[in-house]
């Protein structure tokens, strides 16, 4: 087990990168504590796979260092890093039994067969595979196979970190719930550093103590799930996290007063912007409500999401989403909406105003 430090990392797939845009990974400084549960979250193409490959040693960064505790591993090959990886598609040896699949990483390293046996049994018990140990892996369902992959990731006791690359993407929703809570339970039990890479906010937020949100090769925010939800540092984080994401509306700032569509709006962080900055207001659908004296809107669409309804309203040509509870009413005509001022924020050029850009 180890603390992982990414120090001044930059990576370009070009031989002679010139501008910032030539970097797939622009600048990264992250310290992951030993035993923590972390997630790397971002859309396709944001650089998360590049980063994963740098940590596992498949890729050498153009600049910067990778540290495991006090060891610089930047130049070490993957097999010298003691990392376990679980991929999107389960990697299972179909002709072997479940037992032999789980034992594979240990036997590969010449671990004594008595130790192999006790360790495999322990892991099988944790992953609910005990009853299937003597079955051939080929007969298992997709989630069963992914459990084998998980189990194989956990079986070695000498790994520094276990990395998960979209491990639940091909799993059905009802089984996702089971595997996700299983993973959470396993982390609780074995306390190895885990890094979970995904584009799915629900998976990232429920799994990790701390989430690194990436966009366009950059880290836009590192924070706990609550921080990312309540204080997105960038409108991208506000949009990307939450379903539907944060409403981002054009605003004007003059003499300390903030307006949307000519109507004054109270925000949590009223600051004056410098000339030329683009002002926007960010407020999550959870913090917009119908009100008698708010902004006049036209209701465009109501979608039933079961435990709430998503109301899409239009004000001054801009879309504002609201979440309305099962037992709340939606006005038939003349609807007006208001924002919860403590959860409404001003953004300047995309970044939370008053906090400056960067991480």
């Amino acid at each position: 087990m180890a603390r992982i430090t990414l120090d001044n990392l930059r990576h370009s797939y070009m031989r002679a990168p010139k501008s910032r845009d030539d970097y797939a990974l622009k600048q990264l400084d992250v310290a992951w504590e030993d035993g923590g549960a972390y997630a790397l979250l971002g859309p396709s193409g944001c650089g998360k796979t590049t980063l994963l490959n740098i940590i596992s040693g498949l890729l050498r960064p153009s600049e910067g260092r990778v540290w495991f505790d006090d060891d610089d591993v930047t130049d070490l090959p993957p097999d010298a890093r003691h990392i376990a990886q679980v991929f999107q598609f389960p990697v299972v040896y179909d002709t072997m039994t479940v037992f032999d699949n789980l034992a594979f990483p240990l036997r590969n390293r010449g671990v004594n067969e008595t130790v192999v046996k006790s360790r495999v049994q322990e892991i099988a018990e944790m992953t609910d595979l005990t009853a299937m140990l003597n079955q051939r892996a080929s007969g298992l369902t997709a989630d069963g196979k992914q459990k084998i992959s998980l189990g194989r990731g956990l079986v070695r006791e000498d790994v520094n970190v276990i990395m998960f690359d979209e491990p639940l993407t091909v799993i059905d929703p009802h089984l996702k719930w089971q595997l996700r809570s299983k993973l959470k339970e396993l982390h609780h039990r074995i306390q190895t550093t885990m890094i979970y890479v995904t584009h799915d906010q629900t998976e990232a937020l429920t799994f990790a103590d701390q989430v690194v949100v990436m966009h366009d090769g950059e880290v836009v925010q590192i924070g706990t799930p609550v921080e990312l939800f309540e204080r997105p540092k960038h409108t991208f984080v506000g949009h990307f996290i939450g379903s539907p994401g944060m409403n981002v509306l054009p605003a004007s700032v003059a003499n300390g007063a903030i307006h949307f569509a000519g109507i004054p709006v109270d925000v949590d962080n009223p600051v004056d912007l410098t000339a030329g900055q683009t002002a926007e207001i960010g407020v999550r659908p959870e913090f917009v409500r119908f009100s008698d004296d708010g902004i006049a809107v036209e209701i465009n669409k109501v979608s039933d999401a079961g435990r709430y309804r998503v109301v899409s309203a239009i004000a001054d040509g801009h879309r504002i989403n609201l979440l309305i509870g099962e037992d709340q009413d939606i006005p038939a005509a003349g609807a007006r909406v208001a924002f919860d001022a403590t959860q409404t924020r001003l953004y300047a050029d995309g970044w939370l105003a008053g906090e400056g850009a960067g991480q």
Binding site: A142, S181, P244
Partner: protein
């Protein structure tokens, strides 16, 4: 444009893939096939399209028996999970291809392709090749091609499954509008209950080759006829909890009981099952009528805005999903609450009884 299955079944090599099914689909809005992998969604679509022939039964379209009529002879479009486009052709030519096959005039092709591109927000990409597009744009191209030829039946087999979470959200929001312009039968397969809900229309709940239930989506979600339909249509999984009715009260155990009102009061004493969706079970008491239970906390999942707590009680595992962050320690015993008027009442064999587990409608 009505599609109807009359007692259709499919058996392959002695194994039943689709059990006898009768179904009359809606000709506006979505007909969503909801079920897990291998529940029969794709097979059912192939039967509807005429890609495979049913072992028994008939398929009717617009009051015409089309059983055994091959897909080429019917006006059908399909969109698959994998985005399928012609890699060498531009987006424009990809969308135009079915019209060229149908020998539509050049000027009409141009009008229809541009109209469709506007609807799909592909206007600026018409001269690009598929490889130069994002996944979402590639799938929109495939959907545009499926829509441009004005098919009578459009089959969409998990079209969003391979897309990023956010793209999926965006397209899911746009899809119903893309199909709103005229009557045609649209069938959409998904494994996700939340997707079925958001698409609206009608839903077919599928389980292991059986049609469990068909109905308007919101109604089916709130008033499933069986516990199985409730299970198919619940994410996270619905809590199915054995209860006992004794006299005027229902009980989970000696400490957790509530009054049976109205119709429920007249039920015979004995065992029943209640179905409680996770968002109706909370770590915070919700009103005077709420029933408390003690749960042993197994796992907590805090997502930033809500808390999902998995807990055990006696032999059962429960899930609670609530607003806000409730940091309950794993291993603790904590109180959880539910309002019995939110509980769906079932017989021990899983048949729905009346409305809620207090009486009246859920």
């Amino acid at each position: 444009m009505k599609l109807e299955l009359k007692n259709v079944s499919l058996t392959v090599g002695g194994e039943t893939h689709i059990y006898p099914t009768s179904l009359r689909l809606a000709d506006s809005g979505f007909n969503t096939l909801l079920g897990t992998t291998l529940s029969g969604k794709t097979t059912l679509m192939q039967l509807m399209a005429g890609l495979i022939k049913p072992t028994e039964g008939e398929i009717w379209f617009n009051d015409r028996d089309v059983t055994g009529v091959p897909v080429q002879k019917r006006n059908i479009s399909m969109v698959y999970q994998q985005f399928i486009n012609y890699p060498n052709l531009t987006v424009y030519e990809n969308i135009a291809s079915p019209l060229r096959v149908a020998r539509v005039t050049r000027s009409e092709i141009d009008t229809r392709v541009r109209q469709m591109a506007d609807l799909m927000k592909l206007g600026p990409m018409l001269q690009r090749k598929p490889a130069e597009l994002s996944g979402g744009q590639q799938q929109r191209t495939a959907i545009a091609r499926a829509l441009v030829k004005d098919a009578d039946l459009v089959l969409l087999d998990e079209p969003l499954a391979n897309l990023d979470f956010k793209l999926r959200e965006e397209l899911r929001d746009e899809l119903p509008r893309m199909f709103a312009d005229r009557h045609r039968t649209v069938v959409y397969a998904t494994t996700e209950p939340s997707e079925a809900l958001l698409l609206g229309g009608h839903t077919v709940a599928l389980h292991e080759g059986h049609i469990v239930e068909f109905g308007p989506t919101s109604h089916l979600y709130r008033n499933p006829a069986t516990l199985l339909a409730a299970k198919v249509f619940s994410e996270p999984p619905i809590n199915a909890i054995p209860v006992t009715k004794h006299g005027a009260r229902f009980a989970i155990d000696e400490a957790s009981t509530w009054d049976a009102h109205d119709d429920a009061a007249a039920l015979a004493d004995g065992p029943y099952v209640i179905g409680l969706r996770p968002h109706h079970v909370s770590p915070i008491a919700n009103g005077p009528s709420s029933v408390a239970i003690d749960g042993h906390v197994l796992i907590t999942e805090l997502s930033g805005s809500e808390s999902v707590v998995h807990f055990s009680r006696a032999e059962e595992t429960w899930i609670s999903q609530s607003h806000g962050i409730h940091a309950i320690e794993v291993g603790e015993t904590a109180k959880f609450y539910f309002d019995p008027s939110n509980a769906l009442l079932f017989s021990p064999s899983g048949e729905r009884i009346g409305g809620s587990a207090t009486g009246g409608d859920a």
